[in-house]
Symmetry: C2
Subunit: 621 residues, 2 copies
Amino acid sequence: MNVVDSTGSPFARLRPVPTEAVTLTDAFWEPRREINRRVTLPTQFRHIEDTSRLDNFRRASGKKTGIDFVGIYFNDSDVYKWLEGAVVEGREDPALQPMIETAIVEIQDAQQADGYLNTYFMFEREKDRWTNLRDMHEMYCAGHFIQSAVAHYRSGGDDRLLNVARRLADHMDAKYGPEGEPGACGHEEAELALVELYRATGETRYLALAKRMIDARGQEPSAVLQGRGGDRRYHQDHVPYRQLSEVTGHAVRMMYLAAGAADVYLETGEQALWDAMMRQWDNMTERRSYVSGGLGARYEGEAFGKDYELPNDRAYSETCAAIGSVMWNWRLLLATGDARYSDLIEHTLFNAVLPGLSLDGQHYFYQNPLENDGAHRRQPWFGCACCPPNVARLLAQLTGYFYSVDDAGDIFVHLYARGSAQIALPDGRTIPMTVTTEYPFDGEVEITVGADGDFGVCLRVPEWAGGARLSVNGEDADATPGTYARLRRDWKTGDVIRLELPFEPRFLRSHPYVSENTARVAVFVGPLLYCAEKTDNGEIPNLQDAYVADPADFEKTTVWDLPGVVALRGSTLIQSPVTMRLYGSRFFEPSHAMRPLTLVPYYAWANRDPGQMIVWLREQE
Amino acid sequence: MNVVDSTGSPFARLRPVPTEAVTLTDAFWEPRREINRRVTLPTQFRHIEDTSRLDNFRRASGKKTGIDFVGIYFNDSDVYKWLEGAVVEGREDPALQPMIETAIVEIQDAQQADGYLNTYFMFEREKDRWTNLRDMHEMYCAGHFIQSAVAHYRSGGDDRLLNVARRLADHMDAKYGPEGEPGACGHEEAELALVELYRATGETRYLALAKRMIDARGQEPSAVLQGRGGDRRYHQDHVPYRQLSEVTGHAVRMMYLAAGAADVYLETGEQALWDAMMRQWDNMTERRSYVSGGLGARYEGEAFGKDYELPNDRAYSETCAAIGSVMWNWRLLLATGDARYSDLIEHTLFNAVLPGLSLDGQHYFYQNPLENDGAHRRQPWFGCACCPPNVARLLAQLTGYFYSVDDAGDIFVHLYARGSAQIALPDGRTIPMTVTTEYPFDGEVEITVGADGDFGVCLRVPEWAGGARLSVNGEDADATPGTYARLRRDWKTGDVIRLELPFEPRFLRSHPYVSENTARVAVFVGPLLYCAEKTDNGEIPNLQDAYVADPADFEKTTVWDLPGVVALRGSTLIQSPVTMRLYGSRFFEPSHAMRPLTLVPYYAWANRDPGQMIVWLREQE
């Protein structure tokens, strides 16, 4: 599953606090999770049935005859991603159970006697199995299935799917393991899944196979292209992974590969893997990320661009790539306990993953532009429907990202939301904690410790939170931004930790090499990126003409049609070009036209009337 | 041919002064034309043979057996474009004659009994002829052949190719004319070619067929997609042409379509066609053109982007699209005599067509970025080799773009270069003219009239030439920028016209909606766009850190490794970012580091050591 089980991982610093140990009662996440349970997952199941994605399994098992495979050859993976989310949520929502059971049975029955499982390569296409690793996503589909099987097993399900997963992994191991040929999928995903299967089963062959797949990239001859042509960079196959110093090619694949490498690292501690990941992480965060945390600058190849190539309107920023970033950074966090990874996880969740899903839970963005004329709208489903179930499975497992523990008895608090948790320390103690906050709309967080004893509580102080204040029972403690503030003491039940994060609006600017953002600012409050939408700003004919001067000009407000959302109200100088010429010497007359300007969180955009949206506002000189 | 024959076109204001009437003796164009004749065309012929492009014809005619069609299905068109250039140049260079004769014979022999001519759809693929207009470029290839046949005929060749063209056009007319089905090619080109064939033969069916193809676009059901899926906008098929108000989709196709529409207009005078072209022209020039005149913002679809979407490093700006723009604007100029079209032709020739060809005449750009890290280099040939022979045929016909005449006895001088011309007026008189100038590196142009008589001389005064001065035999005359300055008088042999165009360096800025160019300037001298290349500026680690203040800081100079080219030398303030962070609040410390900055004409970039190149320089506040 997405939230890995690092309990036995020798090179993990942090151990899991599982999804079911955390309860949210907040007004931000929990309503969205309820929508995920009640609306998103059920409607996705309907789409899956309506688009014959399950019929493809019924065809493979012989239950349905006289029909062709329907859809794209990797459509099985959508069923698996949906299932991974559903089995986690299913614990709390019996209404999902019949759907889950249907999916389990159909998948189980579609597995072949030799362990093979892919509904596209059946019958007339059976002969083509494993003949085109570059394009056909067989390992990718297998990986998503394995993730769902592990999630089902860990969520208190039986071992039916886990056994299917073992047989499938054994089949792949026979073909591509030490006794077989070198091979790696054009679309990475199986690597991280196999490590999880290793964790769930203890079978070291699966870990070895995952490592072997990573090792296979960038070799001569290519184990991905297998004699075919193609863009090796697109497939992260132009150099061996350990020599890769940038994030490149197809963004989702890059993230899944890096997550798989991190999983292998957690088990092996191989320094060369770690060094490569660090170079890639620096390249990504210093040169190839949107201010939203979104990844992928190019439509062509759904790919990372060059350094500083970050167009706003033409941002690709695929929702799945942001999810992949969360997955990778989660594994890096488990390895280190370094707050820079959890900072990025939070940032990406709010500003790059959540925009992929409508507030009603039934519409999705594939691409997430940072500027738009209003034509880009969320869709109920896609032919290539990778993003919708990817968001659903992440939300289903969200509570798994909130806490970790370490072997020294420290509790790490990564994310903040009203709720409670029962945190099991490795030594067997369970510590109840209660959190009171309006985060992410307010920076005051109060945590009440629910047990006596000596343990640590490590609170993430976000890097942006200059001026953060921390206290225990009213006594100040150190809170350095960009670190975990560690409070280790002999706790008494009822002790109150209070963290105050500054929530003044602030402007961020881009590195000057990002040409599109020259003389522009992005507005943040706390962890949330804001944007201007036309629907709130009817008095401004073109939001490109709006110049803002000072974050202190903005104050919190509400807008009637986004209930529960904190908006910002400020003012802006309007400077409209006075000529239609594309190139010339002068475009402006002096202007003194001031207008009110309303901003809303970027994650909430495109949920109302279509219209212009802009993240990067022009800055008044 | 590219330079159309508007002699009999009822809605043309201007009549041709043919290529052979104009002689250039200048140091800019004529050496390039000689390279075109002696190097480019012969080496291209060798590529054509080496890549089996002519063998495909020999296979079709049965002269070569046991071989398959080689290459891309539209490779015939490269032979035709090469031939169009070669037959014009062949007049002056007998060395080209054997190559031309080879091509003519192979083409002629490959034509089928029913007039069909396309070497891809032979034998096993014969059954697939005309079954996929969207993708297979059959009309496109036919169009390029017809252009070459007309060029051959007009260049004093025999009528062999013209007869092949007639049979081919008759074949298409039977299939897609009034007696046939509606149909239009996914890649426009046949339209303009058929109008030219009409002009060369007088056969009105060809004009009617061209119009019918334009009419067929944007209809229901689609005559382009023919029941297939696909992006109608990409093919300019989403609305009828007369309703199209923007330049959109594949840029080359858009330009060829517009040129075809202009050709139909020149013959029919249909107002709705004209109105549509004017809307498209405004959209193109006001919102969708690079400062180079290059067209096409997107790699995906080789397409126009949205309004103001003009990335520099990721510019597509295909050389062929610029050539298409020259073709379209030439036809608009013939219709109107309006200097805005000839301004754009000159601008595009220097700054968007010429960069497509190396100074050695053997290497080509397909894409023309306005900013690059040095990795983008011209190639000797391409699998899809549309651009190389397109440049060659344009250079071969260049002298045809220099002059026109009108029925009132006015001579229009569109372009300036040292040389002479024998200009035939419609009334039968021939006027010799001699031009002395160092244009485009200097703005002084002297024209000596070589005959007595009453006629007009209309000199293009470029729109950028504020402060231009004009005189006849020392007497001042009016010279309004952006118009043709008309001198009508009773000329005496030896009368001297003197035009002085200001050649001080000047800065152009972008409309503020072009986000990438915020706070940047492009440097021009006369018609030439300049850029900074790393090879001249070794002292500046990153040209993105160079800020320029004033065009008057630049003066003309030379660089040793671009002989004959006027460079610029100025100074620049260096401001380097002090942090690697991608987003933050501050990136600069005050700087006073001044460095010399050398600029060279953009057309000449990437002819020396690879390195960073930048057109849009940062402007110091």
